[in-house]
Symmetry: C2
Subunit: 196 residues, 2 copies
Amino acid sequence: MRKREGNKEQAILDAAVKVFAQHGYHRAKISSIAEHAKVATGSIYLYYRDKENILLTIFDRFWTTLTAELHIIVKRTDIHPTEKLDLVIDAFFKMFIANSSLATVFVNEQNHLVKDKRSNVAKQFENYLDIAEEIIREGVRKGQFNPDIDIKLFRHYIIGGIRTVLQYWAQQPNTLSLDRICNNVKYFSKNGLLIK
Amino acid sequence: MRKREGNKEQAILDAAVKVFAQHGYHRAKISSIAEHAKVATGSIYLYYRDKENILLTIFDRFWTTLTAELHIIVKRTDIHPTEKLDLVIDAFFKMFIANSSLATVFVNEQNHLVKDKRSNVAKQFENYLDIAEEIIREGVRKGQFNPDIDIKLFRHYIIGGIRTVLQYWAQQPNTLSLDRICNNVKYFSKNGLLIK
DNA sequence: ATTATAATTGAATAATGATTCATTATTCAT
DNA sequence: ATGAATAATGAATCATTATTCAATTATAAT
């Protein structure tokens, strides 16, 4: 027998994130991903059924990781919903600190994947939002969050806001501090623009 | 001579918005746009250089309209920055009331276009944000808006939030009231989640 | 009614790039 | 050292669609 040398599966995934970020999914060429991953074009197909499957794998891992972290945060009883919200936002940003290309791919391709309601990504995303919603409901119950807002809308709004500031950051990851962005987002979401 | 019958240019644009919304720009077929617009495939090329040019025209008109309205709002002296912000958000939503497909196209394709810094869409968008920023600065000057927030970040955040709630709406435009969404967005942006 | 001009058509072409597969290379059990 | 068995290669194939263009049709001026 022959053993697989190195972790080509991961190398392809990493390369794909870079190439997808640079050109967008549809313009990204398999041959270019192969080149970046230092494998032959055909080798890609030993690890992934097709091009779409590469993108799906990227998102699958993304949401699986994030959902696991969210679960832990939601279950905690030692902190207030306000702090939980902070932690969720932290966790979200943390995913991108080491990998700004992932932010770009997330921002640009998430929508297309979610559109297909049968896709696993759509389910994972819905599931994530449902769990996160529980934090908001807890905040409302405890009289800390405004009960009049539409929770479903708010959760979309904040995710969208984050997506876009991330993209802004990903364009110049070295001159902008993700920490600063993260803190601003926490502030916006809780306090808005007005002075109290 | 022969005259052009009907407004094919507009018909193609309208059809393209629908088809781009349904399948995304890259999967959208010129032949399908032609079919929807009730013209022959080749006729598209009498009005638009290529496929990309159709998308660019859609966005060009979108931002031109919106920027004109923004100008008027910013210049007003009879209302407070808070109310100006409301009007800007109103104007934004108004663009989509009659055309939910446009919302989807906006949400999905804007990023890709803006990525190309030389594109006119990128310039128009930057210009729009710059003008809108003036409202925030006015609010800060007048002691109504929090001076500690990062304005550039905030403007991306709110645009992103709006984009995403619009997409949420576009998925089921008949069951969700755009008015309600618009009001929530105004509230989120000004007050955030916390009870005062 | 005829002709010149421009608009329109849609089948044919061309380009692109995902996927396949015949071939070659590498590993390991014997 | 040998030869299964699997991994890897990348040029060839195939499918898809944007774009072109020769032919056709409609309009208006004469």
